[in-house]
């Protein structure tokens, strides 16, 4: 390991994990977009940094033999936003990445850094939850995987334990269908006021839908009951009911982006638009 006093530059995940285990006050730095903003705002003052730039396995997007995908934790938003191979139900991951901040910040920020920060207004969390992504986590004990829905646990809190780091995001193979990410924000590049991420595929039993709402509580909201209502051959009443359930499950805040009440109001409305658009896209295809 190259040790430059306060900056550690591990060449492998194992090295990174051992540094973290040894130095609990060290902070991981990937793109810097979040960490450095916090340093500049004097919210944190790390004693040591662990740069992940030299860990090869954390970089890049690779296709698994089963058609699934592994997105290395250090993959920049820019590269996910430009990923044309994320088709069908996976298109929402690419769409979410393309709406993060702006082109320059997308050159810096990484998927691992973003999800480890777990700001509820971020674009990735609802998209990954709707896509049923798995988060790969490394620790001294090896690797584990968690569904995205279990990874995000509270406001700015994840299932990461100390001396753990996100190594990759795994996406299952795309189904032939539609993935959509819609975001309402005050201006381009702002955190979401409300966002909706939705995948829809069609099969013999009708459509299968997964929907997650972002920025409406500490973590993305996905309800199996709502997904069930939105699957099969749902009509307007099922769609309305699903929207009501998601709104009832929301725990939004009043902030400068909108009131809690407005966010609750938007949930069924934005869900309905995304659902209708996805259904029309599927209909157009079949």
């Amino acid at each position: 390991m190259s040790v430059d006093q306060g900056v550690f530059r591990p060449a492998s995940v194992d090295e990174a994990v051992s540094v973290l285990a040894r130095l609990p006050d060290a902070r991981l730095i990937s793109g810097g977009a979040t960490l450095v903003a916090m340093i500049n705002a004097r919210l944190i003052e790390p004693a040591a940094l662990v740069s992940l730039a030299g860990v090869d396995e954390l970089h890049g997007i690779t296709e698994n033999p089963d058609g699934g995908w592994r997105i290395g934790a250090m993959t920049r938003h820019r590269d996910v936003a430009a990923e044309r191979r994320f088709t069908g139900t996976l298109a929402l991951v690419q769409q979410a990445a393309s709406l993060i901040a702006n082109a320059t910040v997308r050159n810096m920020g990484t998927i691992g850094g973003a999800i480890a920060h777990a700001d509820p207004g971020l674009d990735y969390p609802p998209a990954l939850v709707a896509a049923d992504a798995q988060i790969e986590i490394a620790s001294g004990k090896g690797r584990r995987r968690l569904p995205a829905s279990e990874f995000f646990v509270d406001w700015y809190a994840t299932a990461l334990q100390s001396a753990e780091l996100v190594t990759a995001v795994h996406l299952r193979a795309a189904s032939d269908g539609v993935g959509l990410y819609h975001k309402l924000a005050r201006v381009s590049g702002d955190y979401a006021t409300v966002s909706v991420a939705l995948t829809m595929s069609s099969g013999v039993a009708g459509i299968a839908t997964r929907a997650a709402m972002g920025a409406c509580g500490p973590t993305p909201i996905l309800l199996e009951e709502a997904n069930a209502l939105l699957s099969g051959s749902p009509g307007e009443s099922e769609l309305n009911r699903a929207g009501e359930l998601l709104a009832a499950a929301a725990d939004p805040v009043d902030d400068v982006r909108g009131s809690a009440e407005y966010r609750r109001l938007l949930i069924p409305r934005m869900l309905a638009r995304a659902f209708t658009e996805a259904r029309a896209a599927i209909g157009a295809r079949t």
């Binding site: 903003a37 705002a41 702006n102 309402l184 005050r186 201006v187 381009s188 590049g189 702002d190 955190y191 006021t193 902030d255 400068v256 909108g258 009131s259 407005y262 109001l265 938007l266 409305r269 934005m270 309905a272 638009r273």
Partner: protein, 770 residues
């Protein structure tokens, strides 16, 4: 007509373009001096508290710290204020808002200074926080206990937490309402907007061995900085020299002082140059912002649409210090009648101290708020009468040399042309308007307003150098709008020399003639006129030389292109400025200097027409006009409004540089768009909740329509230089109302509070459905 001009009317690049595109323009943060220290401030955690004492020993003992200043360093009598002298350089005796500067440290580095501020202990005794004008008016607690004793430049009527009050009337409004067929009355509210000049405020002070201060800062007027620092430190003006680097935008934020007196005090104490640059958060929390207004507006009309009477009552949140607020109140009221004929009008209001950041000058100066109310209501009246809103306005606008509210005559009037050209360009009357996308609604909206160009004092000095080229010295800061270029063009025009032969002097209180400031849309009009008059002095002198050389009468001579004098009708009989200036420098008459200074001299009020109480500015005027049409699309799902296209027609008298005029119109539109749709400073109790660019959003490339069409109307003002008037503010003020009117036409929803958020629009649409 403009074909006769050589420099005026040309789309010349700004003279400071090159240094700016090469990254070589120097702003305050870019300046350094040998041995310079860096400063940081300690801000108040309380909205309202008495300061019992300080312990600065730990801060002073911090390695690298050279000086600490607190309110104790400023004498009690040394208060600043443009209208009411109520403010010390640092909180003294009391803190009056969260974030107020309480102490400051000069140290080896910025981070040492910032850390040392946290070592200062302040003993506070908390007082009740008064966070709204209503609360403050009702409270026995006074934010300024000694308001009665403060020096005031006009009859402000200050009492308790009432900072000032103004009332302005013509005719008899009550009689007018009785004579009206229909009377409309509505309440409007506007929010606090942050200036967000991309450059945060800052200053650098250096003290010479004689104790004289040289002060560079981000500012809109070196002379205002000089005056305020002199007041704050109790020094004569002659002990302070103020200079300006390039200014990274201002919009009113840098007109009155921010940290200049603090930095000057630190430099005096540390005996070293000191620089302080605010963080974005400090800039949000401590400088100033646009006033929230509460407005009641009542308008009486005849059934045929003739306007009869208007009453406007406003309540302004002043924040903790008066700053420019009394001016904003008075000016807002002067604009509240709008550019319309009303036989009867009464506009009155109050300004109330609260425990918030001071509110102050911001592009528009009270006009955007009252125009939002007035222009929204006119659309509602048009709707009630079944008259097209532009037709209704055309029926009532000021015509010809009609008078503005208060009685000042118009010397140019492009109102009708602004209206017609924006209307026609936008296809307002088209049978088939642009279609909305599915799930969206779309409509055009219109609004109109007028704004002054003239007030207070300014000057210009034009000198011929030995070789006959020119130096122009005016003391007016270019804050980004392009006045250096525009004034150079006017000077070049007046002397018929190429613009590149005019050197522009950076404002310097030691050498430049007084200029009150780059503010109030006044520099082109006011300083431009001084430039033209000073150039005329030079013309007189060069002609005198030529008349001696050619042995002819001065009346037989004329300036000719390229910087020369010729005998009229005999072009070959000419002599260049080069030869004349040589003669003047070495043989006869002495170097040629032309100068001029003036103060705007047309009274605001004609006492035969209007009655006024508490007028902060007896002489302002010279009105510009703007008409705006916007094309807005509203998302039915979220309520979010998007501006698809816009047309803004501005009567600027004459466009000295049409490219720079367009820049003002486009930029003013964008700033008005942000104000109208989403910009809002939000307080969580007494604390500003969004003092960052993460949380306070201004428009990006994706919110401002690319199809933003500037339309320049030239009415040629008899008072203005080459007929020019101001444009900097008139282009912003009608934007919120135009957007609100488009939303109304698209959705049926009338929103009477800014900003026009998706939340308010959606609620309105849902309520209408029920």
């Amino acid at each position: 007509m403009s074909a006769a001009f050589e420099s005026v009317g040309r789309r010349l690049p700004r003279i400071d373009s090159r240094e700016k595109v090469e990254g070589r323009a120097q702003y305050i943060a870019d300046l350094t001096r040998p041995g310079m220290l860096h400063a940081a401030m300690l801000q108040s955690p309380h909205a309202h508290a008495r300061i019992r004492g300080y312990d600065i020993s730990a801060a002073l003992a911090t390695p690298g710290v050279h000086a600490v200043v607190t309110g104790d360093d400023f004498a009690g009598a040394n208060r600043m204020g443009a209208f009411i002298k109520d403010e010390h350089a640092l909180a003294k005796g009391k803190v009056r808002y969260v974030g107020e500067p309480v102490a400051a440290v000069a140290a080896q580095t910025e981070s040492i200074a910032r850390a040392a501020t946290q070592a200062i202990r302040v003993d506070y005794e908390e007082l009740p926080a008064l966070l709204s004008p209503d609360q403050a008016l009702a409270s026995p607690v006074h934010i300024h206990e000694e308001v009665g004793q403060y020096f005031k430049v006009f009859d402000a009527g200050s009492e308790g937490n009432l900072c000032s009050r103004t009332e302005l009337s013509e005719g008899d409004a009550e009689l007018g309402f009785r004579e009206s067929d229909l009377v409309f009355e509505h309440h409007f509210d506007t929010q606090a907007q942050a200036h967000v000049a991309l450059e945060p405020c800052g200053a650098l002070a250096e003290v010479d061995p004689q104790g004289r201060i040289t002060l560079w800062s981000a500012n809109q007027s070196v002379f205002r900085v000089q005056a305020c620092v002199a007041e704050a430190l109790g020094l004569p003006h002659s002990r302070i020299r103020c200079l300006t680097p390039r200014i990274g935008g201002a919009f009113g934020n840098k007109m009155e002082p921010h940290v200049q007196p603090i930095v000057a005090a630190l430099a005096l104490k540390a005996k070293r140059p000191v620089k302080m640059i605010l963080s974005r958060e400090e800039d949000f929390e401590t400088v100033r912002a646009r006033h929230p207004f509460r407005i009641r507006i009542k308008t009486g009309v005849k059934r045929d649409g003739t306007f009869v009477a208007r009453e406007v009552e406003v309540l302004l949140d002043c924040g903790a210090y008066a700053d420019d607020s009394p001016g904003v109140l008075g000016y807002g009221l002067l604009c509240a009648r709008g550019p319309y004929r009303f036989p009867h009008a009464r506009c009155h209001g109050k300004l109330v101290y609260t425990n918030k950041l001071r509110f102050g000058a911001f592009r528009g100066f009270g006009n955007p708020q009252v125009s939002f109310a007035g222009e929204s209501q006119i659309d509602d009246i048009a709707e009630a009468l079944g008259i097209d809103p532009i037709e209704l306005r055309l029926k009532n606008i000021l015509r010809g040399d009609d008078r503005w509210f208060g009685g000042q005559q118009l010397f140019s009037n492009g109102v009708k042309e602004c209206m017609e050209r924006s209307r026609d360009a936008s296809g307002w009357d088209a049978a088939a308007p642009a279609p909305a996308a599915p799930g969206r609604r779309r409509a055009l909206g219109f609004a109109l307003c007028g704004h002054i160009s003239g007030l207070l004092a300014t000057g210009a000095i034009v000198r011929l150098l030995e070789d006959g080229t020119v130096v122009l010295n005016v003391g007016a800061n270019d804050i980004g709008q392009g006045s250096d270029t525009v004034l150079s063009q006017m000077c070049a025009e007046a002397l018929k020399v190429p613009v590149e032969n005019v050197a522009f002097v950076s404002p310097d209180t030691d050498g430049s003639p007084f200029n009150w400031g780059t503010t109030a849309s006044r520099v082109t009009f006011m300083t431009g006129r001084a430039v033209v008059s000073a150039a005329a002095e030079v013309e007189k002198q060069v002609k005198l030389h030529a008349s001696e050389i050619f042995e002819c009468a001065i009346e037989d001579l004329e300036l000719v292109s390229g910087g020369a004098v010729a005998v009229k009708g005999v072009p070959e009989k000419r002599i260049s400025f080069f030869e004349i200036s040589k003669r003047a420098h070495w043989f006869s008459g002495g170097p040629i200097v032309g100068s001029n200074s003036w103060v705007y001299d047309r009274p605001t009020i004609d006492p035969k027409r209007a009655v006024v109480i508490g007028l902060p500015f007896p002489k302002i005027g010279a009105y510009s006009f703007a008409a705006v049409v916007v094309d807005v699309e509203v998302d039915e799902v979220t309520g979010q409004a998007q501006v698809k296209r816009a047309w803004s027609a501005c009567d600027v008298g004459r466009a000295i540089n049409p490219m720079l005029v367009e820049g003002q119109i486009e930029g003013g539109f964008a700033q008005g768009l942000g104000y109208a749709l989403f910009e809002e400073m939000v307080w969580d109790g007494a604390r500003l909740a969004n003092p960052t660019l993460m949380d306070y959003k201004i428009p990006t490339t994706l919110e401002v329509p690319y199809e933003m069409h500037s339309i320049i109307v030239e009415s040629v003002d008899k008072d203005g230089p080459y007929g020019a008037k101001g444009v900097g503010e008139v282009c912003l003020s009608p934007v919120p109302a135009a957007l609100g009117n488009a939303l109304r036409r698209a959705t049926g929803v009338r929103i009477r509070s800014l900003p026009l958020t998706p939340e308010k629009i959606l609620r309105g649409m849902l309520e209408r459905k029920q």
